[in-house]
Amino acid sequence: MSLTLCSPTLCLYFSLSLGLSLWAVAVLLVALLCLDPHSRVSSAPICTHGPSGCHVPSLADLFDRVIQHSARMHSLSNDLHSEFEQYFLPSKNSIGKIYRKCHTSSILTPNGKENAQKLAREELTEVILKLLMAWRDPLFQLHQSMAHQQDFNSFSSNKALEMGDMTHELRKGVEKVAEKMRVLGMLGNSVTGLSPAETMLPISDSGEAMSNYELLYCFRRDSNKVQNYLKILKCRIIPEHDC
């Protein structure tokens, strides 16, 4: 009959291919429908090849990213600090809690809104960078000491590690922002890079190394400062967005 033209194997192949193609088309359709482009978190890549052929993030985007970073950093530090306080310092003895200064106290930071607003952008940026720089090594030490001690669980030590990495990333980001601003002409050239000699060591006046708790305490404060300063900077430079 009419079906003799098609041998069984040929028919089988034909049907299989048809089915596969249909299935592939269906999958594609589903993927297209389900993947809402608007729901995706668009991450604009940092162009290494320059502005050509690449989406260059705007200053606003950079600022947003940086601010998100700092917020994350601060929340981590806050969590660690409260954990420390909960498990290792049951007594809420406020007297004599901190006997030593933070090592970053030598950095002059504005401690009020007016003071912060009085600072120029360049200075503010520099302060931020200084702070972030000052905490690179201590955070590494903190992580090391926390990892070695049996008191901390792995979760805390991971947080410390993440905190250190995030600080590093944040610094890089802020540097990029500064660069961008400098390119855009918002920043003057008065910002100078940090000299390696100014790296501070978290050594207190008495020469003793600070305890972990003290480090956490200090870092929590400094991360708050950084976040605040960044917000001020952003709203000063790009006032229309979330300000």
Binding site: A71, H74, N78, S94, I95, K97, I98, K101, S105, T109, N111, G112, K113, E114, A116, Q117, R221, N224, K225, Q227, N228, K231, I232, L233, K234, C235, R236, P239, D242, C243
Partner: protein, 604 residues
């Protein structure tokens, strides 16, 4: 030494006295909370202890971390009683404040526990302001848009503080609030609220690190009455159903014939014979049902009639046994019975036999009726019943359409009356035809009606035998139906008769063998079915003779030596006349001289 000792004793005495008087140094105050609304100023509140009965003053002292300089609270008034307000100048962020409160009265003072405060972490903003809720009507349905403003004191413009908002909604009757996080935006759309109800809305805010503010005052909003419409779904459903309806209609149209056949099957008309549909339409039910009534239907068979009971044979001197050759079914005589019937058996192939006889007998027969005449007739009766009447009701032989009657045995001992059977008993076949064809006086069925009118003239007559043998003849008046004969059932089952006796009138009384009422007198005939044939005369007359026991005269000439018990039993000549003249063939002569009388039954 003495002075110090004296002072001590004095103080001790004073204390004792004061305690006895109920006054004492103040209790220990307690700092309850410190809050900053905008991260620029802050306020601390304390709780005073017992005042000890004496007026007590409170003072707040603080010192910053890593500094020993103690400052006193700059403002005790602004924030109210037992509070200390730190203005912008005195507020430093990211610096720990060590705050204590000192209560002092005449008898002493008391210092509260110190509290460390970092202003950056005690931020609790004021409530949001200008909360407004508006109903917005859209295609999807109305919803509520709640909008507010930031608290006045919070400076979010410069980025110094970042506020996150939260609102909550509930109906008046609900217990639980429904909370929504608005983020940093200052408006929010609330969907899916119940129509025609009033809702309460509240908003609060929080800095990114800090405490939640208080809830605002309740804002009331009333949802309008609306019917939720989901237009797109209804459109789809409508289109789909229309599509399906179209397809169904088209399918029905294509297959309308089969649908019609299925839904409205053709009603079969009535198929009753004789039923007139027109009568039904006319609406006269009487006529309709009358037409259904068949007279005499269902045929009731009078089984009594079927039984051959008695055959009366009359011996008439004047008349001789005349056999009308025409009437007699000489054909019957000579007809060959295909079966090997004994004379004793009643119904051997009687049907076919009768059929043949019918055919034959009819040829010569004009009328079928056996007329019966009264007394003086002798008649032979044939026990054979014929059913030819029923078989060929519409035989063309009957010129006048008379029903053929058959020579059947008289069924009852009553000689005459029974002949006139009143009942018309058609045993077979359609009565209307019988009715139609019958002349008013017909239906002689079970009886021979012997007509002796023409007998003496017709055939050859024999002289009167000395022995009066009863002659029975069958005169079948087939020509005319002069005398009305009552209807007699035409068919009889085949049965043998025996002569019961001969009455003084030379009547041979026959009776069927199966008659239960048979008189014992004829017991000698009980087992006897047969009549012995004496001889056959030349003119085809069978002379039967009685049993030897009865010692019958078997000859004309012989005087009967009949027993007195019985009527003279002359020899009973069974005379059959066959036209063809070969009686011997027609009858079967048994070996011992018996004749199978069944063969000789004339069939008409």
């Amino acid at each position: 030494m003495r002075n110090s000792g004296a002072v001590l004793i004095l103080i001790f005495i004073v204390k004792l006295i004061s305690q006895a008087a109920g006054v004492s140094a103040p209790g220990k105050p307690k700092l309850t909370s410190c809050r900053s609304p905008e991260k620029e100023t802050f306020t601390c509140w304390w709780e005073p202890g017992e005042d000890g009965g004496l007026p007590t003053t409170y003072a707040l002292y603080y010192h910053l971390e890593n500094s020993e300089t103690v400052y006193e609270c700059p403002d005790y008034k602004t924030a109210g009683n037992n509070s200390c307000f730190f203005n912008k100048n005195d507020t430093s962020l990211w610096v720990n404040y060590n705050i204590t409160v000192v209560a002092t009265n005449a008898l002493g003072k008391n210092i509260s526990e110190p509290v460390e405060v970092d202003v950056a972490y005690i931020v609790q903003p004021n409530t949001p302001e200008n909360v407004t809720a508006v109903v917005v009507d859209e295609d999807q349905g109305p919803f509520v848009r709640v909008s507010w403003e930031k608290p006045r004191t919070a400076d979010t413009r410069s980025g110094w503080i970042t506020l996150l908002y939260q609102l909550r909604v509930k109906q008046q009757k609900d217990k639980e609030w429904e909370e929504y996080n608005a983020g940093m935006q200052k408006y929010y759309n609330v969907f899916s609220l119940h129509p025609d109800t009033e809702f309460m809305v509240q908003v609060r805010c929080k800095p990114d690190h800090g405490f939640w503010s208080e809830w605002t005052q309740t804002t009331y909003i009333k949802m309008p009455d609306y019917i939720p419409r989901q237009r797109s779904l209804w459109i789809i459903i409508t289109i789909f159903s229309v599509f399906i309806v179209l397809i169904l209609t088209w399918t029905l149209n294509v297959k309308r014939n089969s649908v019609k056949l299925c839904l409205l099957p053709p009603v079969p008309g009535p198929k009753i014979k004789g039923f007139d549909k027109q009568l039904l339409k006319s609406g006269k039910t009487e006529e309709v049902f009358n037409s259904l009534v068949i007279q005499g239907f269902p045929p009731t068979i009078d089984y009594d009639d079927l039984l051959v009971e008695y055959l009366e044979v009359y011996d008439n001197e004047e008349q001789e046994l005349v056999l009308d050759g025409k009437d007699l079914s000489e054909d019957c005589i000579k007809s060959k019975s295909p079966s090997d019937c004994d004379s004793g058996r009643g119904s051997c192939d009687s049907r076919t036999l009768l059929l043949e006889k019918c055919m034959v007998g009819r040829k010569g027969s004009g009328s079928d009726q056996h007329q019966y005449s009264q007394h003086g007739e002798t008649s032979w009766a044939s026990t054979e019943s014929s059913e030819c009447q029923g078989l060929e009701p519409g035989s063309p032989e009957s010129s006048d359409g008379r029903v053929k009657t058959w020579p059947v045995v008289f069924s009852s001992p009553q000689p005459h009356h029974h002949y006139q059977a009143e009942t018309v008993k058609p045993v077979y076949h359609s009565v209307p035809e019988i009715l139609n064809h019958s002349s008013p006086h017909i239906m002689p069925t079970n009886y021979h009606h012997l007509h002796h009118q023409d007998i003496p003239q017709q055939e050859g007559r024999h002289g009167k035998p000395a022995c009066r043998h009863s002659q029975s003849y069958n005169h079948f008046n087939l020509d005319g139906l002069n005398t009305p004969a009552p209807g007699v059932s035409p068919s009889r089952s085949l049965e043998y008769v025996e002569v019961q006796r001969v009455n003084p009138e030379n009547m041979l009384l026959l009776r069927p063998l199966s008659d239960p009422n048979r008189e014992p007198e004829g017991s000698d005939y009980a087992g006897e079915d047969y009549s012995k044939v004496k001889e056959v005369t030349s003119n085809n007359i069978l002379l039967l003779r009685r049993d030897t026991s009865h010692h019958c005269v078997d000859d004309y000439s012989q005087a009967s030596q009949c027993t007195t018990q019985q009527p003279p039993h002359p020899c009973k000549p069974v005379i059959y006349q066959s036209n063809s003249g070969m009686p011997q063939e027609g009858m079967r002569v048994m070996g011992n001289g018996y004749v199978d009388s069944t063969v000789l039954m004339p069939s008409y």
